[in-house]
């Protein structure tokens, strides 16, 4: 017997942990990425999972795992956070000049097992695994998930400590600053897995506005030996990129596999 509340929580979590190939795209959408001025600066960010970028028509992303890092490297407290039917939303005050990293970091496990001959699936925090999976379960396969969904915003001149790699899971190390992206120019980034360059990883890049065009127009680039990928933005817009890695570096007991995912929303401005 599963309590109703937990089912809801599992559903919400599944929206932010897309592991299946047919998962929805999870994204953060900032109201601005480049700001000038000094007085009372803030942005609003939407958080949702959907098929079409960037339309909130499917599920909100939960904000429990939200982490905003300011230019000084310290945590920034968000304001007016709320979760509605289709999106979550929150404000980020920008009291310092420099670059902010806004991230949802989801860590958990995905379990598949059989109970009385029936296929069952469970998703949730690793700590709950033992109590959630019945002792009569057979054919248990546990996968560890670590997933980071990010966007970036800069007030004034880009800089500060927020972009320093965290060192766990899959993340993006900027060579080109993520708030310095211009249509027609090439940008360069390095993918890191547990803080080390991640070579041979496919990165999917899609421009927003999908609802109003017939073709998705996605591009896939692959990181080179030093984990670097390059991309020339064909036109201005809000872009979404995603990469996933599956390996055997699971840290959770019982987990055979680890899946690390990364998604970012990046704004490309006109020249």
């Amino acid at each position: 017997m599963k309590p109703f509340v937990r089912t809801l929580a599992a559903l919400a979590l599944s929206a932010s942990l897309p592991v299946a190939a047919h998962a929805h795209k999870a994204w953060l959408l900032p109201s601005s990425t480049v700001l000038s001025g000094k007085e009372d600066l803030a942005i609003t960010v939407d958080a949702a999972a959907s098929n079409d970028l960037f339309y909130f028509d499917h599920r909100p992303l939960r904000l429990e795992s939200l982490a905003v890092t300011g230019p000084d490297g310290a945590v920034v407290r968000v304001e007016n956070a709320s979760t509605g039917k289709y999106r979550s939303s929150f404000d980020v005050p920008l009291k310092q000049a420099g670059t902010y990293r806004i991230a949802l970091i989801n860590e958990g496990v995905f379990a598949r097992y059989k109970e009385d001959g029936k296929e069952k699936r469970w998703r949730g925090p690793a700590a709950k695994l033992a109590e959630e999976i019945p002792s009569s379960a057979t054919d248990l396969v546990v996968t560890e998930n670590v997933r980071r969904i990010e966007t970036f915003v800069t007030s004034g001149s880009p800089g500060g400590a927020a972009l320093k790699p965290v060192g766990t899971g899959l993340e993006l190390e900027p060579v080109t600053h993520p708030n310095d992206l211009v249509s027609g120019s090439e940008a360069e980034f390095r993918l890191l897995l547990d803080g080390k360059p991640a070579p041979g990883v496919k990165v999917e890049i899609v421009r927003g506005g999908i609802r109003y065009r017939n073709q998705l127009g996605e591009t896939t680039v692959t990181t080179d030996d030093s984990g670097v990928f390059k991309y020339t933005w064909p036109e201005p817009g809000m872009y979404w990129l995603e990469a996933n890695v599956t390996d055997d570096k699971a840290t959770i007991k019982d987990a055979k596999e680890r899946r690390a995912g990364y998604a970012a929303t990046l704004e490309v401005l006109p020249e």
């Binding site: 480049v34 700001l35 000038s36 001025g37 000094k38 007085e39 009372d40 600066l41 004034g156 001149s157 880009p158 310095d180 211009v182 401005l269 006109p270 020249e271």
Partner: protein
């Protein structure tokens, strides 16, 4: 002043050119629109290395009642990315109020801090305009500095800028 000097020197190895004058005239077009705000305008020189060689003028809402005039400086996108975001505004001799439709002149004599240390070379004068609830336009005029003879160079905007002219003389 300090800012202007450091920008003027950046990326340029050659010795300063001999004294010469520069006169720039910029037409802010009269537009028949329901809601009109005077445009923000930035004027600068780009060096052969594509870096900002000299900031010449920035017109923005300096006296905004809520002190929010600098909030829209980022809409001068090229200027903001290339140099604006590194500057502190308002800046003496650089920033001033927005201009009404009409033709406005900028006279820079040889002693102007932006010009007096400018090395000889091929530059582009860039004029960028951005208007609230309106559009944005960037004009570029290539010019040789210092000029060998008196020269008048022109460009014509289509949306947010009218005629732009630069007269240089040795």
């Amino acid at each position: 002043m300090r800012i202007l000097l450091s920008v003027g020197l950046s990326g340029l190895m050659a010795a300063p050119a001999l004294a010469a004058d520069m006169e720039i005239s910029i037409e802010v077009p009269k537009l028949d629109v329901a809601e009109y705000h005077k445009p923000y305008v930035a004027v600068w020189l780009e060096g052969p290395d594509k870096k900002v060689a000299a900031n010449l003028a920035v017109w923005y809402d300096v006296a905004n009642a809520k002190k929010e005039g600098d909030k829209w400086l980022k809409d001068l996108r090229q200027w903001w990315r290339r140099t604006g975001r590194e500057l502190t505004v308002p800046a003496d001799g650089l920033t001033s109020a927005t201009r009404a439709p009409g033709t406005h002149d900028l006279k820079l004599d040889a002693g102007h801090p932006a010009l007096k240390d400018l090395a000889a070379g091929q530059y582009e004068l860039i004029v960028e305009a951005a208007r609230e609830v309106g559009g944005r336009e960037v004009l570029r005029i290539p010019l040789q500095w210092p000029p060998k003879e008196g020269t008048s160079l022109n460009a014509k905007g289509e949306h947010e800028l009218g005629a732009v002219a630069v007269n240089v003389k040795p």
